[in-house]
Symmetry: none
Subunit: 248 residues, 2 copies
């Protein structure tokens, strides 16, 4: 196995699992630990991954946790503005949770007259602060990690709605694997939301693009619009445009 080939494989594994161990890789590929270590070192120098003692972590994984809240607030605001422009009075809208959605909720025009359905406790509270919009909280068991209601009852409720729009925060979006998540229950909710809506909008900072997580939520062709903080003509977004998504 060639060096280049090996490094491609490492990056692939990293996209899949978000972390890799030196020992695992050397075993799986039948090369020495040293070789793997040298590979990881090079890839880390090229900023393709984060080298840590014992293995390596995917970049998106690392940035996903500690930066997202603080750093990207400005970006999230741009996203929120763009998204708010797509919402019109009279619409019925399904939304997930996440910081991008919260920012979006704050950016809504104060004389907007729409109805929002959500499984996110925090989003519901944020929407409820708005003077004129209606908020419907979709009930079920509360998933503590995500502060989302999840379960069969919630899915059933969503299925009984015919919404104009579905606005989802992105965890991971990839041209090949599509929209993906790590939490099975949350995936079920998002799938139901997409199915219950005429149009699906995915919003999130560009960091989340070109990364994958364990469970698929939807293929790219199920998503209509992609909104990031970037200019719609940014080359990073081109592959998604080619796949048929409308970019804002």
């Amino acid at each position: 196995m060639l060096k280049k080939e090996r490094q491609e494989f490492i990056l692939h594994q990293l996209n899949l699992h978000n972390k890799i161990l030196c020992a695992d890789l050397s075993n799986k590929m039948g090369v020495s630990d040293d070789t793997i270590r040298r590979d990881l070192q090079e890839l880390a120098q090229d900023d393709k991954l984060i080298k840590v003692h014992g293995g390596a972590l995917s970049k998106s994984f690392h940035t996903a946790f500690d930066r997202k809240m603080v750093y990207n607030l400005e970006d999230k605001n741009i996203i929120a503005q763009k998204t708010a422009a797509l919402v019109q009075s009279g619409m019925y809208i399904l939304t997930s949770g996440g910081t991008s959605i919260l920012e979006f909720a704050k950016s809504l025009d104060s004389n907007l007259n729409a109805t929002f359905f959500t499984c996110s406790l925090n989003a519901a509270i944020e929407f409820a602060h708005h003077p004129s919009i209606e908020v419907v909280m979709i009930g079920d068991k509360v998933s503590k990690d995500s502060m989302l209601t999840t379960g069969a009852s919630a899915v059933q409720t969503i299925e009984s709605i015919q919404a104009d729009l579905c606005i989802l925060g992105i965890n991971s979006l990839d041209t090949q694997f599509g929209l993906s998540e790590n939490d099975w229950e949350v995936v079920q909710i998002k799938k139901a939301m997409i199915k219950a809506s005429k149009k699906t909008i995915c919003i999130g900072i560009s960091e989340k693009l070109n990364s994958q997580q364990k469970i698929k939520v939807a293929n790219l062709d199920e998503i209509d619009i992609l909104i990031t903080e970037l200019d719609p003509n940014d080359p990073i977004l081109l592959p998604f445009k080619h796949k048929g998504l409308t970019i804002y």
Copy 2:
């Protein structure tokens, strides 16, 4: 699990729960207390969290904490303690919203194993911070004044529950008129909750006693227990005791 990964996880947990215990983390991740402590130490050195005896606090939480100073907090705490003492593992409990309920949620024993049903968005979030209890959010249209879900669907959901306990925050309680409220929709919810439970507990500061509001929720005989910040033998509470309520 890699060291870096572990530390990211700790920060993630901290963002979610605002506080974490050494022992909890070491259990959850299957490493020794020492390792966790060393992790927390490093993260504290990097200013990512605040290390305290037994665990750590989220930075944002600590700064946001003092603004929550409600004037009756001490009284509410007494109420919360008394109420928490009545809850046992395995119970199914319906609760309304309000600051007293929120304080109650914070006072629950960390190894309690009960299931809470609520229409209050804020209460659901507070309950969800607890490590082991289950939280079910009852869905419906969000009433903006009270941040409660109200409506036929919510009432129907409540009717399908058989709870051990119903814990209601008091708006007005009067020996003659009983428990009363001003919001028609909220009244419907509370009535349904009382009906769906074996026992009903009313909690609130004594200021709320001997006052009436427009719409009756329940007669005194539908209420089993009354909890205030006062001593159970306080003369203010005597009339309620005579009406058959148990006072704590």
